[in-house]
């Protein structure tokens, strides 16, 4: 794997470790009021990253936020990629009218910016973690669908598809068993981008107060810190840096994996 890919893997590994070790490092509820408000970072050894306007531990919030952001980001991206693969494979393999209908639907989704669509869906569905995942997944599948469709379109011209058709295998069997696995390589590169985008959208939704109100996340932290940005900019900067690092890590890792798979790809085509 490329060096930048390893950097991404390490970054993502650190974030996952943060998320997993949150209850070990900070056993208390991160929303408890534990100290003097607006303590600067490193001022008090009990609160390494300081406290917010209500006297809550910033480090604890940061660790627990990593859980929400990563879980929502990964789950939403998995949903988006799953829908995209299904739609793209069916559209590309069956072609004709089915392809036309599915692609018009995906264009309808693409004309609305991902974030606005997620926002609208979430307003309609109501704020909860599951709905956040659903809204992000439903608004970000078209890119994967188009990519998979393009790959499947080129692969379905291959003779092995003819051979399988003649052998009497059903179109969906051929599409998903024999064609789809060969079309997945470019999707790997898209995984990083999709996960990154999902994390960003989740943070933005949380910033606007559309996340689960009972859960802390990086977006919520930025939103809370905004009011004190003049006196305590670290309340916004620290979670902001975490969001940026998370997106950078998954993007680098995705690119690294894609580069890693490239030689095999060359063989397949």
């Amino acid at each position: 794997m490329t060096r930048s890919g390893w950097v991404g893997a390490i970054g993502l590994g650190l974030l996952v470790a943060m998320a997993l070790l949150a209850p070990v490092i900070k056993p208390r509820d991160p929303l408890d009021l534990v100290g003097r408000p607006l303590l600067e970072p490193f001022a008090d050894p009990r609160f390494l990253l300081g406290t917010d306007a209500l006297g809550r531990d910033v480090l604890a919030q940061l660790l627990y936020s990593a859980r929400v952001s990563l879980v929502v980001g990964l789950a939403a991206a998995a949903g988006a990629i799953g829908i995209g693969i299904g739609v793209g494979t069916v559209a590309g393999f069956l072609g004709g009218r089915v392809d036309g209908i599915l692609m018009r639907i995906s264009e309808a989704f693409q004309t609305v910016p991902t974030f606005l669509l997620a926002l609208a869906l979430l307003s309609a569905l109501g704020a909860s973690t599951a709905n956040v995942v659903l809204a992000i997944a439903l608004s970000s599948w078209p890119a994967t669908a188009r990519l998979v469709r393009a790959e499947v379109l080129s692969l379905r011209q291959r003779e092995y598809v003819d051979a399988a058709r003649l052998a009497g295998l059903g179109p969906l069997t051929v599409a998903f068993r024999e064609v789809l696995p060969g079309a997945l390589q470019p999707v790997v590169a898209l995984v990083g981008v999709t996960v990154g985008a999902a994390i960003l959208v989740e943070s933005a939704l949380a910033f606007l107060g559309l996340g689960d109100p009972n859960q802390i996340s990086w977006g919520v932290m930025i939103s809370n810190g905004r009011q004190a940005i003049r006196v305590a900019p670290f309340l916004v900067v620290i979670p902001g840096v975490c969001v940026a690092l998370a997106i950078l890590s998954v993007s680098l890792l995705g690119d690294g994996l894609a580069a890693r798979l490239a030689p095999q790809r060359r063989y397949l085509s």
Binding site: R158, Y160, D162, L166, G168, L169, G182, Y267
Partner: protein
Amino acid sequence: MAAGGSATAGGPTTSARPDHAALEVRDLRVRYRSIDDHGPDVLAVDGIDLTMDRGEVLSLVGESGSGKSATLLALAGLLPANASVSGSVRLQGHDILALPERARARVRGRGIGMVFQDPGGSLTPVLTVGSLIDEVLLVHRGLQGAAARAETEALLARCGVGDPARRAQAYPHQLSGGLRQRVAIAAALAAGPEVILADEPTTALDATVQAQVLDLLVGLVADEGVALVLVTHDLAVAAAVADRIAVMYAGRIAEERPAGELMERPGHPYTVALRAAALPFRPRDRDGEGIQERLPELRGRMAAAGGTGCSFAPRCPLATDHCRLVAPPLEPFEGGLVACWRAGELAEWPGVESPEVEPEVPLAAIEPQAVGWPGQGA
């Protein structure tokens, strides 16, 4: 198998179900609509009849554009969407062109196996060759799990794949070209078909492997009693393995006769030209000896199908005004059928008496084991 055999009296093996021919094609026509809907239609196959018995090898020979591949694709149901087919294709007692689509796919899947030119392209790269064959066994014979795998290994072994248990775990790219083609043949046999269609099955292979694969196909025809339709542009290959040869030109059959007789005394001037252009089917010397001169060239281009007169007339040294006006019908000629007004006079044409191609090829003498490849158990 040596060239020869009778024209219509059936193959050498006893047929399991002698009530109908393995494959019966009547008045098959394939028409391509032009893609942009403005150009004229192209008639790729212009009314051909074929009858195949079990245990018989029929070779379709012709240059590019003669309609041999379109015929094969029509039989296999693999023509592109802008092609239309008419006529009748009887397989296992059904006229498959008249069946609804689902039933047609089922009858075809069971009754026809196809071997493609490039085994690298006809085997999916994402499944092991064993799972690929398992899949066919599940769909057509309801075999699953260990039973399917045992049958897969038996099929591979029958197709000369050494160490089938290990090879079944391999992906196509891990196998050599010859092994891949053997796997493709095993996959084509998996459903237990009566007819195998082979589209230039050896063109993409090394010369030595070519002989082995042809040998395998011919052996399977004899052992399994399947009918083999072998499409090739190489008359020498056809002469080496086929019982009958059908020479196609501009979408029609120009001559269809027992292979040996056709090679010795061609009935159609086009067959003469093809024979003159064929390379002897034998390994070349290292220093290139054996082919010293340029092969004779057939000048001109193939006429489009469906015109008036004989479509070969513009390139034919024997053509008369009559040939150019009236298309010759396919009529009985020395054990087969020939479509030429001057078929009887062909013996007088210079070059006909001295064939440059020797049809007796020691194909059967090449034992696969004698050459050997990695992992070949014997």
